[in-house]
């Protein structure tokens, strides 16, 4: 069975890797063990990707019973899960290929590939799970494996992973409570049975179940206000891993949300849960999505670290997906799901480019970089393509999904949510300008004079992802076709699409025309540039400011503390926002409670004896008091 292979292959990779690490520890022959691990990882993930592509035919057909943990778990492939599985396996393969050269210091990440296999196993399990119990079990496996994957790195990565663990366990426990709620109100963990039972339930019961189940999905998707675990966890990982995490790991939450809103319990659920004016799941989700778009995007603006800036964006882009999918319109769901793919491609492209710069310069600090355009042109082009996609500007793929989402929001009567989406896009453009300027434009610091482009091992993945970002921008129909298939299989109205965009009935968007115009405009401006008079090339220190001549010791330091003025005004609210304070207060309450309860154990036997007597009196009074 192909679904079985999809689950057992990564599991075998994990167990084999553990066995390998135990038999040939990295400390003994780091080079050989590293080479074996890399080979196994590339072969394993390549096989997995091929297998994933080949199992598309199994979608919506079969249900597999697997005795993974001593009792049967149920798995099945749907169109929706296939879409995510193809993305998971694909981006993992690209990340692994990039890591072959990009991951420095193998000794520091001895079990990186092993945990990547385990995490993939957990993710595929979640995506394939076909009853709520299997879903929950695989969810837990996935969360724990994410935790161990995040631990692969330095001390800061480990601490950040600890932060993730708290959120993940809270999410797991809420999902557990949701599972129990459903089990005892419906009496079954089968999705069909739950859906049927929900159809007859009051809106309150359905909403209670959905809230318990959706909150964990939103935590995993790092939706506002449960997003604080993400920036430190992702930014402290090795940059190649950050790319993988930001690209797909978080998006399993988006899958879960889509699945439970439209697929798992049937389509009627969202209508029941959104019928009430005051407790309307759909509206609440859209508001959460709006906050997720705006707040993290503007927080990104004030980051001085390229990776941290990008992790904030990857939270913010999740907001677009949430509002799109929660709008539950044809355009919105299509846009949201397409945005998952687009975000995966351009965010990994951007982070690969950042990793390439970090590989040579050893830093991702935006205040220290600059002028690398001629030293690392491929990385520059990668970042340029990526940020055009991120900002949702034509001709890259990000434009198409954002266009769909804007249109869905306006047509479904959510002007304020649409407005937040525009505002967030403005913030995105401002901050990606900072990103590319501070890294590649402006003056080149002297210490980077001898920097060269990275090797082909890292160059090729960047070029490949550039091609993907652009080609899916010209031919969005390739992906939209899959999404229309998902919509059809869910019973939603399918998006009318063409190879180059969206068909007339749904609003018409032709990316080929847009690309031609775009390229023509580029040509025209180049011609104008050629036609313009004489040009003089000057060195980067041939410069002056208010009568002062600037030399290498005083660069025109536009890079430093970019957006300082805006930071001065908005910074205080964004650096330590109420959400962060809430998180800290909850932590403080728990720690204080711990401290007080700890003091119950005074170490004094007299006190202890008094407890015993007091307990006797209280229990006697409590039990006998009434008579």
């Amino acid at each position: 069975m192909s679904i079985t292979t999809l689950l057992l292959l990564p599991l075998a990779g994990f167990l084999g890797g553990i066995a390998l690490a135990a038999l040939a520890p990295a400390s003994k022959s780091p080079r050989a063990s590293g080479a074996i691990q890399k080979f196994v990882a590339v072969a394993g993930f390549a096989l997995l990707f091929v297998e994933a592509l080949a199992t598309r035919s199994a979608a919506d057909a079969s249900r597999v019973e697997l005795w993974l943990f001593g009792f049967p778990l149920h798995f099945a492939m749907t169109q929706l899960s296939w879409y995510f599985i193809a993305m998971v396996t694909g981006i993992t393969l690209v990340t692994v290929l990039f890591s072959l050269q990009g991951l420095r210091d193998d000794g520091k990440y001895p079990l990186y590939y092993v945990w990547l296999f385990a995490k993939t196993f957990g993710m595929l399990g979640v995506l394939l799970a076909n009853d709520l119990l299997s879903f929950f079990i695989m969810w837990e496996v996935m969360s724990w494996c994410t935790y161990f994957l995040l631990q692969q790195g330095g001390e800061r990565a480990k601490r950040a992973a600890g932060g993730y663990l708290v959120y993940a366990v809270v999410a797991g426990m809420l999902l557990f409570a949701g599972l129990m709620y459903v089990l005892f109100h419906v009496g079954s963990v089968e999705f069909d049975a739950i859906g049927k039972a929900f159809a007859g339930f009051s809106a309150g019961s359905v909403i209670a179940a959905l809230v318990l189940i959706l909150i964990p999905m939103l935590i995993e998707a790092a939706a506002y206000p449960a997003h604080w675990w993400l920036p430190s966890a992702y930014a402290n990982a090795e940059t190649g891993i950050s790319a993988y995490l930001a690209a797909i790991s978080t998006r399993i939450g988006i899958y879960g949300m889509t699945f439970f809103l439209f697929a798992g319990f049937g389509l009627s659920v969202i209508n029941i849960a959104s019928a009430n004016k005051f407790a309307n799941v759909q509206e609440v989700l859209m508001v959460i999505g709006a906050f997720t778009m705006v707040v993290p995007t503007f927080t990104a603006l004030f980051q001085h670290d390229a990776k941290e800036l990008m992790t904030w964006h990857s939270i913010g882009q999740g907001g677009y997906m949430i509002v799109g999918i929660a709008s539950s319109t044809t355009l919105g769901v299509a846009g949201g799901l397409f945005h998952v793919f687009n975000h995966m491609t351009y965010v990994s492209l951007i982070l690969f480019s950042i990793a390439a710069v970090e590989y040579r310069t050893g830093t991702t600090n935006l205040n220290k970089l600059g002028g690398l355009i001629k030293r690392q042109p491929i990385a520059y082009l990668g970042l340029l393509f990526g940020i055009i996609g991120l900002a949702g500007i034509p001709p890259m793929n990000g434009f198409v999904s954002k266009w769909l989402i804007y249109r869905a929001l306006i047509l479904s009567g959510h002007p304020f949510i649409a407005l937040s989406a525009f505002i967030a896009t403005l913030g995105t453009i401002l901050s990606v300008y900072k990103l590319i300027h501070n890294m590649f434009l402006g003056q080149l610091p002297e210490r980077y004079n001898d920097i060269k482009e990275v090797g082909w091992g890292m160059r090729l993945p960047i070029i490949f992802m550039m091609a993907v970002v652009w080609l899916t921008g010209i031919f969005p129909g390739t992906i939209l076709g899959v999404i229309a298939g998902i919509q059809k299989s869910l019973g939603l109205e399918a998006l009318q699409y063409t190879t180059y965009g969206v068909a007339q009935g749904a609003g018409q968007l032709n990316m080929l025309v847009i690309n031609i115009i775009f390229i023509a405009a580029l040509l025209v401006s180049w011609l104008i540039y050629l036609a313009g008079g004489k040009r003089k090339h000057i060195g980067q220190y041939d410069n002056y400011a208010a009568g002062h001549f600037l030399d290498a010791s005083i660069p025109y330091n536009y890079n430093y503390d970019f957006y300082a003025g805006m930071d001065h005004i908005f910074g205080p609210a964004l650096h330590k926002p109420p959400v962060k304070r809430l998180e800290q207060s909850i932590g403080a309450v728990v720690l204080n409670a711990s401290e007080y309860l700890r003091r119950l154990f005074t170490g004094n036997v007299t006190t202890y004896a008094a407890y015993v007597v007091a307990a006797a009196v209280v229990v006697l009074l409590a039990l006998g008091g009434g008579r």
Binding site: G70, I137, L165, V166, V169, V590, V612, L620, L623
Partner: protein, 521 residues
């Protein structure tokens, strides 16, 4: 089939023999042989009880109420198996460990005492689960308690002595409560057999029965570590030699708890159940939250035991057979996981010379197997699938939800909250174990190993010395993992939490008759 009385007779006889011979080598192997024999026989008794129903054991042909009543049903046979098997494993661990546990004068001679007392502790536990008579219960309880008081103080360090004395004072208060309760029951029943007392108390005035129930439950509850009677536990479990911590947390409090539950049912009906449920949940909250604030590894684990006992007691106090069933599963898992954690931490302490978690930074490099065992056991305790702990916790939540009572729902919230806290503090420890070694930590670790504990492997020590002298910024420490026998013991406990997860339906089935025996008595 050998009479199960051998369970009490053999450890007692071996204990006396050991003290008479006085050689520590003989003490090791004699006690190992005796317990191995019992552990080998225990599965057969269990199987026989499952096949033929409960066995009544009559001593010297004198029938109750005059004779001493013992009985072996699925519950006691199950516990006999658990106690004998963990006893054997902990004895295996003790062979390499105990020579380093006490650094006092005459420690070598004292080692024979350790094994003798350990056997007494086993005899007491076996007697406790088999007896059918309330006064014998008291006698075996005292054997168990007194041997554990001394074992806690075995290392004769200040903190162990203090913990032992505290434990003894509170234990004596408990014994006094129990004795009063036994006297009061004898007054109404005129018999010491539990079933007679149960009948007599059912017709006695409510206040009288309640007084007996409360005195007995609280007296026994001290040993069973029910909140707020468990105040001795953090000191005792953290200051005892780690083998004894493993025994105390692994089965002693559990045996006390189950005997208490059984007596609660046989003798007091359902008089105490609601109070127990509330105390259980308070125990979960207090235990887990207090564990969060600890800086010492074994103290953290001890507080975690308080929380875990609370979870078990909560399941038992639901008063249904499925509740007992879920509670027993949690109990079995806790024995495996907590014993492994304590046994491993014993060697963490030996290798670093410190009780503080912070001193174990980067220890995973020196003790990869130990750190891996620790992580696996911690994963099970937190309840990650596919470990045993996941399924037992699942079962408990399921049972609690099925109870459809305010207590049940409160229990779900408390247990889920407790799990979050548990994950935080246990994985903070794991993170330290796998963290980077700072030069300072390495130096202090070296100093400790050289300074005290002329412990395991002088070769390792000399390598450490040379490294400490070298001006290396990246400290490399010699490997000093668990010794073979300790490795086997810990691996066996970890295997229980692994196999328990992968073969959970089997364990689930096996626990059914045990739970039925607990509920039906």
């Amino acid at each position: 089939m050998v009479s199960p009385m051998i369970l009490i007779a053999l450890p007692l006889a071996t204990a006396f023999l050991i003290v008479l011979i006085g050689s520590r080598v003989a003490a090791r192997w004699l006690s190992l042989a005796a317990v191995a024999l019992l552990a080998g026989l225990a599965p057969f008794w269990f199987a026989e009880v499952l096949r033929n129903g409960p066995m009544a054991i009559v001593l010297a042909d004198v029938l109750p109420p005059l004779g001493i009543a013992f009985g072996l049903d699925a519950l006691s046979a199950g516990f006999v198996l658990l106690i004998a098997a963990s006893g054997l494993l902990v004895l295996l661990y003790s062979v390499p460990y105990i020579p380093h546990a006490g650094q006092f004068e005459g420690a070598k001679k004292a080692e024979t005492r350790y094994y003798a007392l350990f056997l007494l502790l086993l005899a007491g536990s076996f007697g406790l689960v088999m007896t059918r008579d309330i006064f014998n219960l008291f006698v075996f309880f005292e054997i168990l308690c007194i041997s554990s008081y001394i074992l806690v103080a075995y290392s004769q360090e200040e903190r162990s002595l203090e913990a032992g004395i505290k434990y003894m004072i509170l234990g004596s208060i408990g014994s006094a409560f129990m004795l009063v309760a036994i006297g009061l029951s004898y007054r109404v029943a005129g018999s010491l057999a539990m079933t007679d007392i149960g009948q007599a108390l059912a017709t006695a005035p409510h206040g009288y029965a309640l007084l007996v129930a409360v005195l007995f439950t609280l007296g026994f509850g001290i040993e069973a570590a029910i909140f707020p009677l468990n105040t001795w536990l953090p000191d005792a479990h953290s200051s005892a030699p780690s083998s004894i911590s493993a025994v105390l947390s692994g089965f002693v409090i559990e045996v006390a708890l189950v005997v208490l539950v059984r007596i609660g049912i046989t003798v007091f009906g359902t008089l105490m159940e609601p109070a127990m449920g509330v105390l259980a949940l308070a125990g979960v909250v207090v235990g887990e939250l207090a564990a969060l604030g600890q800086k010492e590894l074994k103290r953290t684990l001890a507080f975690s035991s308080i929380g875990q006992v609370g979870i078990m007691l909560f399941a038992f106090s639901l008063g249904t057979q499925s509740g007992d069933w879920a509670g027993l599963g949690q109990l079995l898992m806790h024995t495996g996981a907590k014993s492994a954690l304590f046994l491993v931490s014993g060697y963490f302490i030996l290798r670093t010379g410190s009780h503080e978690i912070e001193a174990y930074r980067g220890l995973a490099r020196r003790m990869p197997a130990a750190a891996a065992f620790f992580s696996l056991a911690a994963l099970s305790l937190v309840g990650m699938p596919p470990f045993f702990g996941f399924f037992t916790k699942f079962r408990i939540i399921e049972v609690a939800a099925a109870a459809r009572s305010a207590l049940g729902y409160a229990g779900i919230v408390v247990i889920l909250f407790g799990t979050v806290i548990e994950a935080v503090y246990l994985f903070r420890i794991v993170r330290v174990l796998y963290g980077g070694v700072t030069a300072a930590a390495a130096a202090s670790a070296n100093g400790a190993t050289i300074g005290g504990l002329g412990a395991p492997g002088s070769i390792a020590d000399s390598t450490l010395l040379s490294v400490a002298g070298a001006p290396s910024s990246v400290p490399t420490l010699a490997r000093a993992d668990l010794p073979a026998l300790a490795w086997i013991a810990v691996a066996a406990f970890v295997a229980l939490v692994l196999v328990g997860g992968f073969a959970f339906p089997w364990f689930d089935q096996a626990l059914q008759p045990v739970a039925a025996a607990l509920a039906a008595l």
